[in-house]
């Protein structure tokens, strides 16, 4: 292998580049990214950066002395992957030939159709998005956040600390319900309400309204809910999830579903092409299906697994040293608390508080399916949470996955 091209120069792409060098690859390395920035960390964008407690320099992912001996092509989008030539075609007409390709194009924020023409409506995925939102919040009194997933709930919480009046609108019965279940989501709703966020669950948004201005696009002025209520707003954030960045792979021969379909080591359907991070749906032997994991830790840890298989060549696919991926882990900071979660929750899991108490808003809760612990949630109890997380990871390694 003489040249590896990494497409997507963010957390997963950088982690893959590091893994290649750590594992002894000493050939050519090209990183291609459509943002003009060097790799930066996204989680603070809805937290410390939005609150003004972290600067842009603090977001840098690379260390000052780090040298990957790589060629960086930034500000250029990959438009196609040509399987015959094994080349990545860029929007500016250039083409990068490579023996192997790492797909790390992440995801982009979903938008709400019809709101594009309004000024004051934001999504949050990139540094540029965060700059724009921060500037807009500075002069605003009322914020409506549509969607109480992690990013929406964190923005609501941060905006409260900045003194705004905040309404969080969520069609499901509780915030974060898709990830941690409705029962524990209700605990988070309590945290949000306790901080002064107006939490409106079980209702969707019918329309986002605006007022015409003398110059420029009409300015957002409120949200009409499906139940007819109207909530006034100076700024609206749409936090309704993210779409994997896979459009550029059309016609490449790489199979795509909800993300790039991969085996349990990140190999795609095209030999020599792997996918990592938010854009990738690895096969999960325990679930018997592909699963796209959109968390920071997966984007950091899985590239080493995928790169190992890539460097080992085709023989790796059948090797016995293939470990099941560790249970996904994420954290979220909101309402002055730290939420940590590992594993996969499903409706119907039995949830028991193992340490601390709901009343104190400091506890560890374990999710069980049958007798088997499948997930763990921690609120402000990192030490016992970490022990449970390690235990889940050890269980996953020890007990072979059920036959598909």
């Amino acid at each position: 292998m003489r040249t590896v091209a990494v497409v997507g120069a963010s957390l997963a792409g950088l982690s893959a580049a590091r893994a290649l060098r750590d594992q002894g690859y000493d050939g050519g390395l090209v990183l291609i990214g459509d943002e003009p920035h060097r790799p930066y960390d996204r989680p603070p964008l809805s937290k410390e950066f939005l609150a003004g407690r972290m600067s842009e320099a603090d977001l840098a992912l690379e260390t000052e002395t780090e040298d990957l001996d790589a060629t960086w092509i930034l500000g250029a989008a990959a438009e196609a992957l040509d399987p015959g030539e094994r080349a990545v075609r860029l929007g500016d007409g250039r083409s990068v030939r490579a023996d192997a390709v790492v797909i790390a194009t992440g995801a982009s924020a979903r938008t709400l159709p019809g709101t594009e023409r309004l000024s004051g409506v934001h999504t949050l995925r990139t540094l540029d998005d965060a700059r724009a939102l921060r500037a807009d919040l500075a002069g605003a009194g009322r914020l409506v956040v549509i969607g109480a997933g992690f990013i929406g709930a964190e923005i609501a919480s941060t905006a409260r600390t900045l003194g705004l009046h905040v309404t969080l609108v969520e069609p499901a019965s509780a915030p974060l319900a898709a990830a941690i279940g409705a029962e524990m989501g209700a605990v988070v709703a309590g945290l949000q309400a306790g901080q002064g966020v107006e939490v409106l669950c079980g209702t969707g948004v019918r329309e986002v309204t605006g007022t015409a201005r003398a110059a420029g696009a009409p300015r957002v002025d409120g949200v009409i809910l499906t139940d007819g209520r109207r909530v006034p707003a100076d700024v609206v954030v749409v936090g309704i999830g993210a779409r994997p960045g896979v459009g550029w792979l059309a016609g490449s021969g790489v199979d795509v579903g909800d993300g790039v379909l991969c085996d349990a080591t990140g190999a795609t359907t095209l030999p020599g092409v792997i996918a990592v991070g938010d854009c990738a749906a690895w096969f999960d032997p325990a679930a018997g299906s592909h699963r796209r994991v959109e968390h920071w830790t997966g984007a950091v840890r899985r590239p080493a697994v995928a790169v190992r298989a890539l460097l080992a060549g085709a023989s790796a696919g059948s090797g016995s040293d293939i470990r099941p991926p560790e249970p996904p882990y994420f954290w979220s900071d909101q309402c002055g608390t730290r939420i940590q979660f590992a594993g996969h929750a499903r409706p119907g899991d039995e949830i028991t508080v193992e340490e601390g108490s709901l009343a104190d808003r400091s506890f560890v809760a374990v999710y069980r399916r049958g007798d088997r612990p499948v997930a763990v949630l921690g609120i402000d109890l990192p030490r016992p949470f970490t022990r449970w997380r390690k235990r889940l990871a050890a269980d996953a390694l020890r007990s072979p996955a059920p036959a598909a």
Partner: protein
Amino acid sequence: MIPACPLRSLPRGEAFRLDVEPPIAVFHTEDGEIYAIDDTCTHQDASLADGWLEGCEVECPLHASKFDLRTGQVDAPPAKLPVRTHRVVVEDDTIFVVPSDAPANLPPGVAVRCQGAA
């Protein structure tokens, strides 16, 4: 020299957070060694005393940076800067810590907060 805790209250495999400014984490390893390092991770705001102790290494409970307890060096990212190490003295069954006078590598948000409070 600051008294941290009685030796017998810190079994092997456990850690203790000393509430000084900035806080210090004291670890008793499975091998019976005692080490003290800055408690706050240099990456973001997390307490290393809450971390996962393995050999002479602690893994941060938030994003799994690893620090060598003997040197304070980063063994695994995302942290970029080392933590300070502090000298430990055990006398009369009590653990004492001699805080380092080097400047601490506090993480971004925390550094701002401490300065603001000063």
